[in-house]
Structure formats: structure tokens, C-alpha cells
């Protein structure tokens, strides 16, 4: 669109503004509602994706469950147990039956959401912090810093997430470090972030390298912006989209990893309530009371699925080449 075209279509409000500014070159804003930015395009794409709606419905449902468990527990208290009800199968009054201790199982599963989501979110924040900082430094400064950090990443990549976290949590209590030694949600989140940041780092690093050579970065430098300002204000905001997608998917993966660690006996300990613990306790009773494994597993799978679906939908929406 040329400037002439802009000047042809007049709009009274516009002329008034121009008179005030003394320029007398009225133009209507013909761009409104016609051109789209990356994010408005992405939203248009998301809206039409059923995966996004299923994912966000489930996501909101489980987040609400984590914040207000009493809304979903049908009035039952997860810690009010009566051994006479032990291993009762599901009934119309108690939808998920009772566990071995005779506690209402629905209430237990519902109250487990908070632990799982907290650990999932905390460890994804840890993964992002490590990944973005290390990746941005490596990508922006290049040279020796890049070589060293890239090798460090390779070393961590060689360690499987579960194995690394398992070892860290196993030795955790003997280290005497504040959060790590108490085997709570914080310790699990630290262990998962410490061995899960590498993919995020590689993503950020490659994005930063790509954005670094853009003209607007040179322009910012020519206008006297400092390295820190260029990196935080100009490069990172343009590099986050793929990292955002990755982290959404990772929330699901990390929630599953937490359940795995707890199942293996190094994650959370009773009396904490978590899906991993419930599955671990239920497995020995699988033949007599299969519902004790079934219900937390289904809910865990649905939660993981919700985040992965959201991430997938987001990735499709942000990548124009994926659009049909």
C-alpha cells in the first residue's frame, strides 16, 4: 500500500487529529482488521482446532481441581478414613470406591492434582530458566562460551531424565541442602529441571542465533543499545514462540516423570497425596482392587494429554507451514 492510497480515503475524525498536529495530511487507518500479526493469526488458527478446545477444557478442569479440590471431592475428606470400608469398589455414593485404608478414593485422586500440577509447573519453570539463560548466553555470545555450554549440554543429554533425577533424589537427603533434602515437591521439581533443560537450551540457542543476524538487532546496536538490552528486549521476545510450545508439551511429560519417580520410591513420600503414590500403593492390590490403579492412571493420562494437546495445537498455530 502506498502513502497515496492512505491519503485518498478520508475520515473526519482523522482530519481533526491532523489539524491538531498541524500537518494536514489526513489519512484513514486502512490497516485495521486487515493485516494480522503472528499472534492474531495463531489465535484464528487455534480457534478452529478441536485439539485446542479439548486440551484447554481438560487443562482448565484440572487446574481448577488443583486450586479448589473441595469443589470436586463431593464433600469427602481424603484423610477421613475408616478401615471398615477398605478396598470397597466404586458405588453411586463413592464414585471411585475406597482405598486400602478405607479413605474415599475420589477425594484422594482429586487432592492429588495439586501436587502433580505444582511439580509439573515448578519443574517447567526451572527447565525454562536454565534453558533460556544458558541457551541465550551460548547463542548470543558464541565463540568459546558457546562451545563450553554446548558441550555441557551434551554431557547432560547423555544422562536419561529419570535416571539422573532418580540418583539426585536418592542422594538428596544426605546432602543436607535445604530443599533437596526434604524430599517434597520442591526436591522433585529441582531434580526434574536439573536433568530436563537441555532441549529447551538447544531451542533457545538456535532461535537466538537466527534472530541475532536480523537487521533490527543491528539497528538496535547502531542506536546505542547495550548487550543486555539487545538480548532481553530485542532477541528473546522474538525467539520465544517455539520454546513456549515446547514447554507446554513438557508440563505433561514432567507430570508423568514425577509419577514415575514417586512410583519408583524416590519421589514424594506419604503422607503426601499424589497420583504416583496412589499408583504405587495400588499395584500390589491390582488383582483384588483394580480401581486403585485404574482411576489415578486415567486422570494422570488425561492431564498429561491435555498439556500435550495444547502444545501440539500451539505448535501448529505458530508454524505457518503446518497450515493446510
Amino acid at each position: 500500500m502506498t502513502d497515496q492510497q492512505q491519503e485518498q480515503s478520508l475520515d473526519p475524525a482523522q482530519i481533526e487529529v491532523d489539524v491538531r498536529t498541524g500537518l494536514g495530511a489526513p489519512s484513514a487507518d486502512v490497516t485495521e482488521g486487515r493485516q494480522n500479526s503472528l499472534w492474531s493469526d495463531a489465535w484464528g488458527q487455534l480457534r478452529r482446532n478441536p485439539l485446542f478446545w479439548i486440551g484447554s477444557f481438560l487443562g482448565v478442569f484440572f487446574v481448577l481441581m488443583a486450586i479448589f479440590p473441595s469443589w470436586f471431592a463431593r464433600g469427602a475428606d481424603p484423610r477421613a478414613c475408616s478401615l471398615t470400608e477398605s478396598k470397597q469398589p466404586p458405588s453411586s455414593a463413592h464414585w471411585m470406591g475406597f482405598d486400602q485404608q478405607g479413605c474415599d478414593y475420589l477425594a484422594n485422586v482429586v487432592y492429588g492434582a495439586r501436587t502433580s500440577l505444582t511439580i509439573g509447573l515448578l519443574s517447567v519453570i526451572g527447565v525454562l530458566l536454565l534453558g533460556v539463560i544458558i541457551g541465550a548466553v551460548a547463542g548470543y555470545y558464541g565463540g568459546i562460551a558457546d562451545s563450553l555450554l554446548a558441550r555441557l549440554t551434551d554431557i547432560f543429554f547423555a544422562l536419561p531424565l529419570i535416571l539422573g533425577a532418580l540418583i539426585l533424589l536418592r542422594v538428596g537427603p544426605s546432602t543436607g541442602l535445604p530443599i533437596l533434602s526434604d524430599r517434597g515437591a520442591g526436591a522433585v521439581a529441582i531434580a526434574l529441571s536439573a536433568f530436563g533443560w537441555m532441549t529447551a537450551m538447544r531451542l533457545v540457542r538456535s532461535q537466538v542465533i537466527a534472530v541475532k543476524s536480523q537487521d533490527y538487532v543491528a539497528a538496535a546496536r547502531a542506536m546505542g543499545a547495550s548487550n543486555f538490552r539487545i538480548l532481553t528486549r530485542h532477541i528473546l521476545p522474538n525467539a520465544v514462540a517455539p520454546v513456549l510450545v515446547y514447554s507446554t508439551i513438557t508440563v505433561g511429560v514432567l507430570i508423568a516423570a514425577e509419577a514415575t519417580l514417586t512410583y519408583l520410591g524416590v519421589g514424594l513420600q506419604r503422607p503426601a497425596i499424589s497420583w504416583g503414590l496412589q499408583i504405587e500403593n495400588g499395584q500390589s492390590l491390582l488383582r483384588t482392587a483394580p480401581h486403585l490403579v485404574l482411576f489415578p492412571s486415567i486422570i494422570l493420562s488425561l492431564t498429561v494429554m491435555a498439556f500435550i494437546m495444547l502444545g501440539d495445537a500451539l505448535r501448529d498455530a505458530l508454524d505457518p507451514r503446518q497450515r493446510s
Binding site: M1, T2, D3, Q4, Q5, Q6, E7, Q14, V17, D18, T21, G22, L23, G24, A25, P26, S27, D29, T31, Q35, S37, L38, S213, Q214, D215, Y216, A218, A219, A220, R221, A222, M223, G224, A225, S226, R229, R233, H234, P237, N238
Partner: protein, 353 residues
């Protein structure tokens, strides 16, 4: 120009130039790219100066080193591989190359600013234009967000963006090419630079918009008294706005002088070739006269005068005067007549017909 805003009064008074000489002086600047395949000599000892309020056009074809020399001044060379191998860049009497990084950074923006060829890629897509213009004030002067935005609106008015107050929150992709370049100009002018480097500012624009942008630059220069370095390969633009012109070839300045002198009586065969390659109305229907051959490979610049393989006047061996063999002796940039310099052994013959 008809800027009605209080912008001028809101910026500090122009600092007097501490040394009476030129605002910017480039002395014997060398830039090379050290690549795996050898050293590419992009800039081989260029010198020029820009006075307050003066427009110097640097004219040259692609790969002649005109943009690289500007990037060296702005400190935005990609290094590695680019290295400033020698020379000095004096801004108001102080050598920029000898300053530390922080001092250099403080000169960029308030001292020397630059506008780029492609304004769309030179503007950050994720911020509104008002935010980006205002960033100059926030970063260099610590102005509050609100005030910075007010300054941004004033600047947008000043570069004649219609309805500035309404468009301040729009994003770069919502502007037309000419308007984007104005936003770029507004950013560059935000801190009242003493020198503005315009690297092919109109190349990406269509012809009518080109004229508007050049007029705007001229008006702004008259208002602020800044020196303007105009890097271009567009002879028409040079003719319209420049006071002096420096013609570059193979990383060297091969001719300087006022625009009128250089355009009407070139003293270097390369400039003659450039002038002959302009389409002329009188010669309609005839063939254009190109400069034969290819620009030199900067990793292997020809011996002697770098232009000799393409020069219709080149003399070598017995035909050449002593020490003026075009194939063997590099012609220095020397004064040929009053106010004119050229790097050719036989400039006088050209000038005197």
C-alpha cells in the same frame, strides 16, 4: 517544515562542537574480512570528513565497501570475520576506535545514528513503533514510559506520519513502506544526532515515496544542522540532495568533489563510466553504455589501479608515463583541481578533454 510540536524545546540545546573542524573524520580506514578462504579487503584506506549541516554522498556499486565503512563507524560490523585493520574514526575530535565499549555505545544514538535500507526488517516486529521510538529516550536518558511515548508522538509528527497520536501503538507491519522508513528516521533522530548515516534509505521504496523521504531528510537536516552521510548507488538521489560526493571502487575512494563538478566533469574513468550508464532522454532508442567487465574480487584486487582491467584509458608498458603504469602503479588520491581529488594517473587528460 511545519512541525508544530514542542519537540525541539524538549531536547537539550545542540552542544557546540568542541573542535572547530569537521564533526566526523574518517582517516585511512581499513576493514578486512578474515575468512577461511583468505582475507577479503573490503575497505582499503578511505578518508573523508563531514561538516555540520553538510551532506556527503558515498556512491559506489555493490561490494565497493560503502556500507562496510558505515558499519565500521557504527560499530555494527559482524566480527569475526570483519576486522578494522587500521585507521581512525574521529567524532568531534576523539577517535571512536580508541574508546572503550561503553563510551562507544553512548555515542551511538545521541552522536551518530543510522537508518537502514529495509525499514521493515530494521524494526522489531514484536513492539509497537511508539515503544521503539520511545526506547531511545528510555535507554539513553532514563525517561519514564509515559514521557517517552509523548516524545515518540512528537517525533512521528515531525517526520510527517499522519495521525501520529493514533498510530503510535501500531506495529511495524501495519505501516506502508514509506511510513516505516519515516518511523526509522524518527528513531534515528530521537536524540538529535550530530551525524546521520543513511544506508540506501530509499532503495526499498517506490519512486514517489523515495522523493518524499529524501525531501524529509533534507528538511530535517536544515532544522537540526546535522551532518548527513548518504550511502547510495542511485545517481539521481545524489544529484538532488548531496553537497559533496565520494565515489568508491574496490574499497577505495577514487574521486571526490562537489556534486556539480563530479557529475559534469568526472576526473576518473570509472565515474565517466557511471555517468554514461545513466539513461538519457536525448539518447532515447540508442543503447546504454555499460562499464564492461565485472567488479573486482576483493580477495584478489588487481595490481596497480584496481580499475585498470575495465578501464578504456588504461595505459601500460611503453604507452604509460614513467611511474604511471596503470597495471603496476597504484594511483594515489590526489588533488587534481581546486576542491577535487581523484585517484587516476591521467585525470588531467580527462578533465582537459
Amino acid at each position: 517544515m511545519t512541525s508544530s510540536s514542542g519537540y525541539i524545546s524538549s531536547t537539550p540545546a545542540l552542544e557546540p562542537n568542541p573542535t572547530a573542524g569537521p564533526v566526523l573524520e574518517v582517516e585511512d580506514l581499513h576493514v578486512e574480512f578474515r575468512t577461511r578462504n583468505g582475507v577479503v579487503n573490503a575497505v582499503n584506506g578511505i578518508s573523508y570528513s563531514v561538516d555540520q549541516g553538510e551532506t556527503l554522498a558515498i556512491l559506489g556499486e555493490s561490494g565497493s565497501g560503502k556500507s562496510v565503512s558505515a558499519q565500521a563507524i557504527m560499530g555494527i560490523l559482524d566480527s569475526p570475520p570483519a576486522v578494522i585493520a587500521g585507521g581512525g574514526i574521529n567524532f568531534q575530535g576523539r577517535d571512536i576506535l580508541k574508546m572503550n565499549e561503553e563510551e562507544q555505545r553512548q555515542i551511538r544514538g545521541p552522536g551518530i545514528a543510522m537508518i537502514f535500507q529495509d525499514a521493515l526488517s530494521a524494526l522489531n516486529p514484536v513492539y509497537s513503533v511508539g515503544f521503539q521510538i520511545g526506547e531511545m529516550f528510555r535507554a539513553h536518558r532514563g525517561t519514564s514510559r509515559k514521557e517517552a511515548k509523548q516524545h515518540a508522538i512528537e517525533l512521528m509528527d515531525r517526520v510527517r506520519i499522519p495521525a501520529a497520536a493514533r498510530r503510535v501503538n501500531d506495529y511495524p507491519h501495519q505501516f506502508s513502506g514509506g511510513m516505516r522508513q519515516r518511523v526509522m528516521i524518527a528513531m534515528a533522530l530521537a536524540l538529535d544526532p550530530r551525524i546521520l548515516i543513511a544506508d540506501e534509505p530509499t532503495t526499498a521504496l517506490d519512486v514517489t515515496v523515495q522523493a518524499q523521504v529524501m525531501d524529509l531528510l533534507k528538511d530535517l537536516q536544515r532544522d537540526t544542522g546535522m551532518g548527513l552521510i548518504l550511502i547510495t548507488h542511485d545517481l539521481g538521489v545524489v544529484n538532488e540532495v548531496a553537497d559533496r560526493v565520494a565515489v568508491m571502487y574496490a574499497g577505495r575512494i577514487v574521486e571526490t568533489g562537489t556534486v556539480d563538478d563530479v557529475f559534469t566533469r568526472p576526473a576518473m574513468p570509472y565515474t565517466v563510466g557511471l555517468m554514461n550508464s545513466i539513461p538519457q532522454v536525448e539518447a532515447k532508442g540508442g543503447r546504454l553504455q555499460p562499464i564492461i567487465g565485472q567488479p573486482p574480487n576483493l580477495a584478489r584486487i588487481p595490481s596497480g589501479c584496481p580499475f585498470h582491467p575495465r578501464c578504456p584509458m588504461a595505459r601500460t608498458g611503453a604507452a604509460a608515463a614513467p611511474d604511471r603504469d596503470c597495471v603496476a602503479d597504484l594511483p594515489p588520491l590526489r588533488v587534481v583541481t581546486v576542491g577535487r581529488e581523484a585517484a587516476c594517473h591521467y585525470s588531467e587528460e580527462l578533465l582537459n578533454g
